[in-house]
């Protein structure tokens, strides 16, 4: 039980047990197995080592492995719970669980806060929000004057930064997100309810034990 270090890299292909993951998440054993089909597809698309690298994540999202995108980077970093540069299967399932339609709103609100807290300070600062607005404008190949961008950010701060200290803390974020549920639209993926039908290959290899009927 002592040493695990040398084993860790070889074990990439051995995924975490489906029933453990099912217990910890909203997913059933079968849904975890279906997610594994998707995971394998992504994790073998470039490096073929059964781990999702950033390039593979970008390929899956943008159909282009070189496309840099601030927001995709943020998502990748948050999915990479162990911060070792790859998304492992367990991380993939636990993170996608936040996007499940049945996951409580509070968890989605918390995840979104971490996403926008670019530097991990515990606050969303004025300059971080501005950076993100510029990134999306840039992504849409759109140039707005600095004044216009400032105005958009100021306007939002007026609504969200209720104690007026120039940064949005978690409590302020919770209040703001609850008032504007549209903000969290991206945090719910209805697809996750259909996952067994999208990736039906799992039926062949399912390890779920038979119930007596």
């Amino acid at each position: 039980m002592g040493c695990v270090s040398s084993k860790q890299f070889k074990r990439a292909e051995e995924y975490e047990d489906s029933s453990t993951l099912a217990k910890e998440t909203t997913f059933s054993v079968n849904e975890v197995e279906a997610l594994r089909v998707l995971y394998k597809k992504i994790s073998y698309s470039i490096f073929k080592d059964g781990l999702i690298h950033k390039e593979e994540f970008q390929l899956a999202l943008f159909r282009n492995s070189n496309k840099k995108n601030l927001f995709a980077d943020r998502i990748f970093d948050l999915f990479d719970l162990k911060r070792n540069g790859v998304i492992e299967f367990g991380e993939f399932v636990r993170s996608l669980n936040i996007f499940h339609p049945d996951t409580p709103m509070a968890e989605k609100i918390a995840f979104a806060f971490r996403l926008y807290d670019l530097r991990g300070t515990g606050f969303i600062k004025h300059e971080e929000l501005k950076e993100m607005v510029l990134a999306i404008l840039n992504e849409s190949e759109l140039i707005l004057s600095d004044d216009a961008v400032e105005q958009i950010v100021d306007q939002t701060f007026k609504q969200a930064d209720t104690n007026n200290d120039g940064k949005i803390d978690y409590e302020e974020w919770k209040a703001f997100a609850s008032k504007n549920p549209g903000l969290l639209k991206n945090m719910t993926l209805p697809y996750l309810k259909d996952i067994t039908m999208v990736f039906p290959s799992f039926v062949l290899n399912s390890g779920a034990s038979d119930d007596e009927l």
Binding site: N69, L70, L129, L183
Partner: protein, 455 residues
């Protein structure tokens, strides 16, 4: 043995509803939601032995895409080491043909079911899915007497397909099968389905089979020559329609588009009933939202609500945030967004002009512009909501979202009608994919029928 049995911690299994070569079907209840379902259970070794596994996987993917009010829906698939479970919509009303067992239907009653059947079949065909085994056992009714066709896209599991490759119905006769299928020539699934619909229609009104003989060879002969006689009480319009459908030559057999235009099918009674239902629905909606009039309301002239987007709304438009792209499929796109450097007023004017040119009805409700096609499509009238959001004074985001109707028709309208008409005012379509993608379709894409399917 009669204890409560729970499947996968999710469903409580009830009585056995039916049993066939491959499958047992149980009544069940979702423990979390209370929803009643039918669960079809299959032993894996049976289908592995018959080599049907790949086909089943393919068909599950297809079934997921087939959602229509007259098609029994597949909710989820489950599996254990030895079994596969299909969780299906439960049709409370049982088989349609139990109704005829009590006596034949009037043409009017038959028309209602036939229209629902054709609607389901047409919808599937538009997605390259063929039933290939339409017969009474596959026609069910829900608690509102709405027809539900079962086993669409699951032909691998059809009970009738035995090892000899020949099609049989449960009673061992090929009564509903098209002649070209019997003669084992290559055949078009679409045309074979049309034939079966014709036989079903005949049975609904006559209460007996058009082609029947105790001797199977004689029956084959009758089918291949389309030898049948309509009872005298059939109306002329019905006889004409059946003549067109029960044509032994698949090449001259009437296509669905023509069935829909036939006099019998269009007979106003049935349509009037449908139309009233729709009007009632719209009126009910309008009343609940506080509007007093239904159509042509002067209130429609009010201005559109203009929502200001805050910085976080804007950020969330990034494709980098859109994880649905991991599962993306072209079939499923129901909304489109674009940005424009025009004022909201200018965009609105352009949308009105577009509606006029494409002959779309436009109304406003709660600050949202609603566009609707004049004609019914495969899943009723196609309706879209259009909402304009302001990002900066001369920079808006426009969202077009399908709220009713067939998704493929929506995509076609977007591609051929709306997108070209808007090209002058669009700055960028959000989330457009320039490149073909590697991961686009979940599984086995090459084996899915080409789209739209050429016959």
């Amino acid at each position: 043995m009669e204890e409560r049995s729970i499947l996968m911690e999710r469903y409580e299994i009830g009585r056995l509803l039916g049993q066939g070569t491959f499958a047992k079907v149980y009544y069940a209840r979702n423990l979390a939601t209370g929803q009643t379902v039918a669960i079809k259970m299959i032993h894996k070794d049976k289908i592995v032995k018959t080599g049907l596994m790949d086909q089943i996987k393919r068909e599950i993917s297809i079934m997921r895409l087939v959602r229509h009010p007259n098609i029994l829906q597949l909710f989820e698939v489950m599996a254990t080491k030895n079994r596969i479970y299909f969780v299906l919509e439960y049709a409370k009303g049982g088989e349609l043909f139990n109704k005829i067992a009590k006596g034949k239907l009037t043409e009017e009653a038959a028309r209602k079911y036939f229209q629902q059947l054709i609607s389901a079949v047409d919808y599937c065909h538009s997605r390259g899915v063929y039933h290939r085994d339409l017969k009474p056992e596959n026609l069910l009714l829900d608690e509102n007497e709405t027809l539900k066709v079962s086993d669409f896209g699951l032909s691998a599991l059809a009970e009738s397909k035995r090892q000899d490759g020949l099609l049989h119905t449960a009673c061992g006769t090929p009564a509903y099968v098209a002649p070209e299928v019997l003669s084992r020539k290559g055949y078009s699934g679409a045309k074979a389905d049309v034939w079966s619909c014709g036989v079903i229609l005949f049975v609904l009104v006559a209460n007996y089979l058009p082609f029947h003989d105790r001797n199977l060879i004689e029956m084959y002969k009758k089918i291949s020559k389309a030898e049948y006689r309509c009872p005298r009480y059939f109306s002329v319009a019905l006889k004409e329609l059946l003549y067109g459908i029960l044509d032994p030559d698949p090449n001259t057999r009437i296509p669905i588009s023509m069935i829909k235009r036939s006099a019998w099918y269009r007979k106003p009674v049935g349509l009037a009933v449908l139309k009233t239902e729709i009007v009632n629905k719209i009126c009910a909606e309008a009343t609940t939202s506080g509007l007093t009039e239904c159509f042509g309301s002067e209130r429609n002239q009010g201005s559109l609500r203009l929502t200001n987007l805050n910085a976080f709304d804007i950020i969330s438009l990034s494709t980098g945030f859109d994880l649905s792209r991991l599962f993306d499929e072209k079939y499923s796109q129901r909304e489109t967004r674009f940005t424009s450097k025009q004022s909201a007023g200018a965009v609105f004017g352009k949308l009105k002009e577009l509606a006029r040119r494409l002959k779309l009805k436009d109304t406003k409700k709660d600050g949202v512009l609603k566009l609707a096609t004049a004609k019914e499509g495969r899943k009723g009238i196609l309706e879209l909501d259009v909402e304009i959001f302001e990002i900066a004074p001369s920079f808006v985001l426009v969202e077009l979202k399908k709220t009713n109707g067939d998704t493929l028709e929506y995509q076609k309208l977007m591609k051929d009608g709306i997108r070209p008409s808007l090209k002058d005012i669009v700055w960028a379509w959000q989330g457009d994919q320039q490149q073909p993608c590697v991961l686009r379709h979940a599984e086995q894409q090459p084996q899915l029928p080409p789209f739209p399917l050429q016959q």
